[in-house]
């Protein structure tokens, strides 16, 4: 809900993403802080942030397929992989990034449709199984193809990213590059929600029987949900390829797919805010525990340090379970409650 005193002259203004001056200031401040961050951080933290941005783009895509359209997908990491391999091959032609990224996104979307065609006809467990098959098939197919295609076991080297003729080869460069793509992806993800397409996906999720009778082609929209969700994965894959400079199937595992889902669940699957909060939260916990483990190791307590590393996945798994049991709407819902509380303060009435 909105604070009082906010009035709209047009429905477009009402549909705006940042409806109040306060929201605009807050987002502007956040973007400025992200732009300035490299001045105060070293290569390690910039690398962590870069990785977080890439993860966020992939989770935005998962949010479209799973959150908006209600189609479970445990192959998002494989689709990121498709984008990365596509980028590696495209980079050989010396194409500029603003061609490579959209083409990689489209290629990834197209590949996902191959799997979505059968997947969209089944529900629940069988859908999960079909996407699981996509994840399992990914390395089998890459390794099975002639090595001259996708490099087989060795993988593919990626031609370095250049922007305006200059090579982007430092962590700071990659930080800014992925930040820019993350901002664009964020805008797109929020746009989906207020659009005809987004409403149709949500209609399919809420009640597919009614949606079909009300004129929405349910099958087509389920497939499109995979297509769009995988385009985000493709963009994330492009970033990943340039950051890693070398792509192999090992970077795109079922484990990562499950983590993407976990982040979406912890944050809240129903809004892009959930993707942001989930990715930020899990990354913070991961990094926090990692720091803690390293510190303990340095102090000489080998076993305690090792235990922390082993416990990281248990702790993160516990986060997902707690979210599922106590707040299925995720951190995004908590955030909404908090925000409404602040807007109403000090008068606790609507």
């Amino acid at each position: 809900m909105l604070p009082t005193g906010v009035l709209f002259e047009t429905y477009s203004a009402e549909a705006g993403l940042l409806k109040t001056a306060r929201a605009r200031v807050a987002v502007a401040a956040l973007v400025l802080a992200l732009l300035a961050a490299p001045l105060a951080t070293g290569a390690y933290l910039q690398g962590v942030a870069t990785h977080m941005f890439i993860t966020l783009i992939a989770v935005y895509g998962l949010h479209v397929t799973v959150g908006m359209a209600g189609q479970i997908n445990i192959a998002q990491s494989a689709f990121v992989g498709v984008g990365a391999f596509a980028t590696a091959r495209l980079s050989e032609f010396g194409l500029p990034f603003f061609i490579v990224v959209p083409v990689a996104a489209l290629v990834t979307g197209a590949v996902s449709v191959v799997f979505a065609l059968p997947a969209a006809r089944v529900k629940g467990f069988y859908l999960a199984l079909t996407t699981f098959a996509a994840q399992v098939l990914f390395p089998i197919i890459v390794l099975g193809l002639p090595t001259s295609w996708l490099g087989g076991l060795v993988g593919l080297a990626v031609e370095p990213l250049t922007v305006a003729g200059r090579p982007m080869n430092t962590p700071t460069h990659m930080y800014y590059f992925t930040l820019a793509l993350t901002l664009i992806a964020s805008y797109a993800a929020f746009n989906l929600h207020r659009s005809r397409f987004g409403r149709a996906l949500k209609a399919v999720r809420d009640n597919d029987v009614a949606a079909e009778v009300m004129g929405i082609d349910v099958l087509r929209h389920k497939i499109m949900a995979f297509f769009v969700g995988s385009m985000f994965a493709g963009v994330a894959g492009s970033c990943m390829a340039w950051v890693l400079q070398f792509v192999t199937v090992e970077s795109f595992t079922l484990f990562t797919s499950v983590w993407y889902l976990g982040m979406l669940i912890v944050g809240g699957a129903y809004s892009p805010i959930g993707a942001i909060l989930g990715v930020a939260f899990i990354t913070l916990v991961q990094e926090g525990l990692h720091e803690l483990g390293t510190a303990i190791l340095r102090s000489g307590a080998q076993e305690a340090g090792g235990a922390i590393f082993a416990a990281t996945n248990i702790a993160l798994g516990a986060c997902i379970l707690i979210a599922l049991i106590f707040e299925p709407r995720g951190l995004a819902h908590r955030w909404q409650v908090l925000k409404t509380g602040l807007q109403l303060w000090p008068f606790p009435h609507r």
Binding site: Y11, R196, D206, N207, D217
Partner: protein, 273 residues
């Protein structure tokens, strides 16, 4: 949207109904579920501008008939014609695009969306924005969204839902959700409105409101309305033609008065109540 006529008795049009060209025509529909014959040789003609009630005891096949009309069930044999076109093979969403508006038995709204979003989904086939427009949100997309929001607001005003436009539909009362369901069907800008037990579970006041909305929609848009209803008082009050189903068969068709006096109907249905 204007509301020209108040709650009218609505019986005057009945006499003429039989002579007008049918908008929707179902012919010899047969529908079986395993051993159960839900529809046996059912035919139905809905004339322009009429309110056509379908009544019958529980399990008579009323919902099955509506589902065959809207394409959700495929009859094993028989045909459905809409505006002279054979639509028997069309999938439900294509029929909706062709102008068949539908409301459901029970609650079939989209619970996580607001009342206005529910209604906006009804415009799906009138809007053009595709996937890329949705992602980029360029000027034309914005303009389309503005225009259709204004249209949705007309429906919201008509159904007196102004206070609830941003309310999440899952939180609304039964009667209000049914009203949102009707609003969504109106957004299809249908050329016929098909309603399955729109008043079931409503209190008399809500029923009165809905009866008024149904008559107003018919009068304002000049479209026929097909409705399944158990409340005999409402049926006799607002319908021009009544079709009576029993065990999957049509046992009577006529004006409310004719049907009320029909012996087979009294025996099969009214008599047993």
């Amino acid at each position: 949207m204007t509301r020209p006529a108040p709650l009218a008795a609505g019986i005057s049009a009945a006499a003429a109904a039989g002579r007008r060209a049918p908008v929707l025509h179902a012919e010899a529909l047969q529908l079986r579920f395993g051993a159960v014959a839900a529809l046996r040789d059912v035919s139905l003609s809905v004339a322009e501008n009429e309110i056509h009630a379908i009544i019958g005891p529980n399990g008579a096949g009323k919902s099955s008939l509506l589902n065959c009309l809207s394409g959700f069930y495929r009859p094993q044999s028989g045909r459905v014609y809409f505006d002279g076109e054979d639509i028997t093979q069309l999938r439900p969403h294509r029929r909706a695009a062709a102008g068949l508006g539908r409301t459901f038995q029970g609650i079939q709204t989209y619970p996580s969306m607001t009342a206005r979003e529910n209604i906006l989904t009804g415009f799906h086939n009138r809007m053009r924005t595709g996937v890329f427009g949705a992602l980029v949100w360029w000027g034309r997309v914005r303009a389309e969204e503005e225009a259709f929001t204004a249209k949705a607001e007309e429906i919201i005003e008509f159904l007196e839902l102004e206070e609830l436009r941003h309310a999440v539909v899952g939180d609304l009362s039964y009667g209000l959700r049914k009203r949102v369901d009707l609003g969504r069907a109106m957004a299809l800008e249908p050329r016929i409105l098909i309603m399955d037990e729109p008043m079931a579970g409503m209190n008399p006041e809500e029923k009165g409101d809905l009866a008024r909305f149904i008559l107003d929609i018919r009068d304002a848009n000049r479209i026929p309305v097909v409705l399944v209803e158990h409340d005999m008082e409402v049926v006799m009050d607002i319908s021009d033609t009544v079709t009576v189903l029993d065990f999957g068969e049509v046992i009577a068709v006529g004006t409310p008065r004719e049907v009320r006096e029909n012996e087979a109907v009294i025996a099969a249905y009214l008599g047993t109540e």
